[in-house]
Structures are given as structure tokens and as C-alpha cells.
Symmetry: C2
Subunit: 321 residues, 2 copies
């Protein structure tokens, strides 16, 4: 009687910013914001930014007349979903090693806290509210500085025995290939991340004694390709081939209904996605390919907070049904 509508808080921690939002279980965002995460100061500094975000969102919830049922947090690193703690170290956020995300936030706000890896919650967001809405079996690939992966099986996030599964960027597609940052060789990440793409393009320019543009990034490569530059076009052809091989593997392994490509490179557009899909042909078992689709992520920069809200809403429901 008179029970308030439930809302959820989503926090998406990155090395530079903490994004945060208040939303409902159907993915509607009521309020959102962004603060510097102070990742290079200390874990306490990061927690203080999180506290500031939560306080702001609780105030908004009060004004909106909704009650916050749970807080979801997406964080870099392997996160023990059962305890809400970071497992071991987080290379891109070294001071965050072993952080007790659930413990610290729950202690302060007495609201249930659920934490998971940032790549996981991004694909959860797409599966619940984005490009893969309605699909029980989803694989996500995020193409950025590195390549992240996330997998949803029968509507549930797949995490692995040690909460470090779905490292799809570190699947070797050529054991004779280039060294990867992880120490292995020929990983998808070493071939098809934004970093690899820029390196590949630079090598092509250098080989032809062409000048290197300033501030070289994948956007510029796509722009040059559109203007017909041979080296840029070749670079994109090659990345489509590598991703075709990788996605062929992913389809043979996971037999999903849908594969969602996210990250900056995916913003290159649907033509890029179509060319990747053409390159899957010949690298996949036909029965599995016939039920699979390749699409672009839809939620963009919001995927993190929306996924954190979805995580909170899912976990809340699991306890209140």
C-alpha cells in the first residue's frame, strides 16, 4: 500500500571518469552524471567519488518519489560477483587492486550492492535493453584500445569459475602472429584492436614513405578510407578479415543468436559490420552461422551505467521473487 516504485543506481567506473545514473528496471534513465574518477590518487579517492555520485542520485530518487532497491557497479578487472570484490590487480587502475566494492558502499548506504566486470555489464545492457534485446544467447565484443568480451547464456551473464571468463580478445587466431600485450601471440586483440589497427596503418604508410598524420586514430583511418586512400582501405580490409576469423570461432564455440560489436571502432557504421560478416563466411560451421546475426551495439556511452542498473535490477529481482 503506497509502496514506492523501485529504481536502481548504476555506477560505471573507468580510469578517467565515473559515470553514474538512476534508472528503473526497464532501462529508463531518470538522471545521469559523470565525475573524474581520481583513479590515480587512491582507492579511497575513487570511493569518495562513488559516494558523491550515490548521494546525488539518492537525492534525485527522493525528488522523483522512487525508492532505490539496489546499486550496481561495473568496474575494470575480474570481480567476484558473489562477494562484490575486485580479484587481484587491475592493470589500467592499479590502486583499485582488491577493492571491496560491495563492502565499502553497503557500509555507507545500507543498500544492496552488486558488482561485476565492466565488459560484462556492457553486454548485459545490450542483452536487456539494446541491440540484443530479447535474445537469450548473446556474445559481445568491444573494440577499443584492447578487445573485451562478454557472454550471456540463457539470459544469464557467463562469468567463469574464477570470474575471468569471456576474455575473447585473448583468443589466438594465429599462433605465428604478432606478440600480444598479454604475453601470448596472435590474439584477436593483437590484430584487431584500435591500437593494432593504428599500428598496422602506420606500418603501411611508413613502408611507402608516406607522412604520418598527427593524432592518428581509427576515426581518421575510416575517413581516409572513405576518401579512397589505398593504405587506409587495406587496413580496414585486414581488420575485417581478422574479426571474421574471430567471430567464426565465437559462433562455433558459443552458437549465439546474436553477436554485438561495440566500442569506438564500431561507430564506423553498418557498412563496417556488413564487411566483417562477409569475412565470417568460410570460417564457420554453416548450421551455427545460419541462426546468428552480427549487429552494432546500440547503447554507446550509456552501456556501462545501463548495464550496472540492469545488474542491480536482476539481482534485486532474484532476491524478491
Amino acid at each position: 500500500m503506497g509502496q514506492k516504485e523501485k529504481a536502481f543506481i548504476g555506477l560505471d567506473l573507468g580510469g578517467t571518469f565515473l559515470k553514474y545514473a538512476l534508472g528503473t528496471g526497464d532501462g529508463t534513465i531518470l538522471h545521469k552524471g559523470k565525475l573524474p574518477s581520481h583513479g590515480s590518487q587512491s582507492a579511497d579517492a575513487i570511493f569518495n567519488v562513488m559516494f558523491q555520485a550515490v548521494a546525488e542520485l539518492l537525492e534525485k530518487a527522493e525528488k522523483e518519489g522512487v525508492e532505490v532497491g539496489a546499486i550496481g557497479v561495473g568496474s575494470p578487472g575480474a570481480i567476484d560477483f558473489n562477494t562484490g570484490r575486485v580479484l587481484g590487480n587491475t592493470p589500467n587502475l592499479p590502486l583499485w587492486t582488491n577493492a571491496d566494492i560491495r563492502g565499502r558502499i553497503q557500509e555507507k548506504y545500507h543498500i544492496p550492492v552488486y558488482a561485476d566486470n565492466d565488459a560484462n555489464i556492457a553486454i548485459l545492457a545490450e542483452a536487456r535493453f539494446g541491440a540484443a534485446k530479447g535474445c537469450p544467447n548473446v556474445v559481445g565484443l568491444t573494440l577499443g584500445t584492447g578487445i573485451g568480451g562478454g557472454v550471456v547464456i540463457n539470459d544469464q551473464l557467463f562469468r567463469g569459475a574464477g570470474f575471468s571468463g569471456a576474455e575473447l580478445g585473448h583468443m589466438t587466431i594465429n599462433f605465428q602472429g604478432p606478440k600480444c600485450g598479454c604475453g601470448s601471440s596472435g590474439c584477436v586483440e593483437a590484430y584487431a584492436s584500435a591500437t593494432a589497427m593504428v599500428r598496422n596503418y602506420k606500418e603501411k604508410l611508413a613502408a611507402r614513405h608516406m607522412p604520418l598524420p598527427e593524432r592518428l586514430n581509427t576515426e581518421l583511418i575510416f575517413a581516409h578510407a572513405r576518401s579512397g586512400e589505398e593504405e587506409a582501405m587495406q587496413t580496414i580490409d585486414e581488420v575485417c578479415f581478422y574479426l571474421g576469423v574471430a567471430i567464426g570461432n565465437i559462433i562455433n564455440i558459443f552458437n549465439p543468436e546474436i553477436i554485438v560489436i561495440g566500442g569506438g571502432v564500431a561507430d564506423a557504421g553498418d557498412a563496417f559490420i556488413t564487411r566483417i560478416w562477409q569475412n565470417v563466411d568460410g570460417h564457420v560451421l554453416t548450421a551455427a552461422q545460419s541462426i546468428a546475426r552480427l549487429v552494432r551495439a546500440e547503447l554507446g556511452n550509456n552501456a556501462g551505467v545501463v548495464g550496472a542498473i540492469a545488474l542491480a535490477a536482476d539481482s534485486y529481482k532474484a532476491w524478491h521473487m
Copy 2:
């Protein structure tokens, strides 16, 4: 009151033989047998062999004073677990295409029938009663003429959206590698199946103008390696390298507690498993590797029927709890 103990029937269909057994939910086999499967005659001929096996096992159950709760069937091909039908074609058993396994057996015996892919039930057997007993997250690789895969996640068989997931043998580990029977290139199967191993060994002998032994198989290669023959030792070294790369990928992707190697080649012994594991080093993320173990399958030729019994027992329990 006076209710009989439940037992389960397991049928394991292969191209040459149908293996069958009566067992209890704890994996104990009460009776087992083997009949030619008549796979080259007709689907009806195969069903008649299945009926003969079921009739024999029902008689044994009667004598043992146990009641058969369900029938589990392992079959080649992709099997729709929800309907118990073969999906599409079965290359190694062409007449079995689209066979209605559940429909035909249930119609005759009025006992619930559950069917699944043979590689899936073999790894289910190892997870329930064999080398991976007690592990919730298990990956199985069966090294034979081809390379089959099976995955258990949180104690449940992973099947994929179209029941054709976990085709781990068709993961490309070198897109510049040899053509695979599936049409792709550089699949694990093209590098490390028994077939590939024999081919690789033959090529080495031929290159050195050495005579080809008659009836060449992997057992012989291992025997020659033990006697110190260079070509055989190299062949095994190479297969260990390829499997090391593949298992590194599998660990990065699935983050399992345990990987179980089965099939004829695995009978080469624990030293072979140890050498494969050494080759995983350098091809894997250390956090995931640190919780994983690589072991030999334990159930051998019984894995199929024991897995079919486990499938029947699991499914029976799911309906009676």
C-alpha cells in the same frame, strides 16, 4: 511405501555400435551391452537396434527389482534437447538425419526419453562421475578422428542457441593453417586430431624417404616415440604445441576449473597430458590458468552410456523435485 529404486537406461549411438547400459543415478552400471548399430541400413534399422537394447535392459531392471525412470540417448549430430530430435544432417551417419529419437522410443516404451549430442553426454559423464567429479565448470576435448568439445557451466551442459555449441575442434588457431574438413582453415582439428597426427607423421617419414609402416595409427606413433624415433617424437611435440595453444584459448574463454582430455589419443598417458599442459604456458592469461587443471578422461569407452544415464537421471530429477 514399497516404491522401487529408480534406475535409468543409457544408449550411446555410434556409426558402428550401439552401446547401452542400465544404471542408477549415482553412476553405478547394473548391466551393459553392445550391438551393431546398422547405421548404413536405415533409420528404422537403428531404431530397431535401440528397441532391442531397451527391451533387454527393461528385462534386467525387472530382475534387479528396479524401475526405469527415464531413458537417455547420446547421438551424433546436433540434437534439440527440448524435442529430442536430430537437427539436420549427421555426416557420419547420413541416414539418421532429422531422426525423432524421443518420439520413436517414447511411443514404444512410454518412458520419458532425453537425447543429446554424444560429445555433450561424454563430458557430462566425466563431470558427474569421472575425472571432473565435483567441478561445476568443466571443458572436455575428445581427440579422435575429429576433435569434439563439450562444456559444463554451473553444473549444467552448455548447448548453445541452436544446440550446436562447443564445437571446440573447429576453433581456428592459425588462419594461415591447413584446410580443415569443415571448410575453414587452421582449426584445432586440422592440427591435432588423430587423423592430422597420422598425416603429419607420414609427411615427416616421406620427407626423409623412410618406409611407411602398415596400419599407421596414433598408438604406433606413441610407441615409435617411446623407442626414440625422431619423426614420431617431433610429431608428438607438435601436437602438444597445437593443443597447448587451443587449451590456452579455452581457458581464456571459459575460465574452467578443469579441462578433461578424452579419446584414443588421450590413452597415451599422463606424460602426454603433462606435456600439453607445459605448452599452455605462454598462451594463456595467468589468473585463469592458475585455477585450471588439465586431466585425462577416466570413463573411457563407458563415458557415452554413463553420460546418457546421467542425462536421464538429471532430467528425471528436474521433473520430480
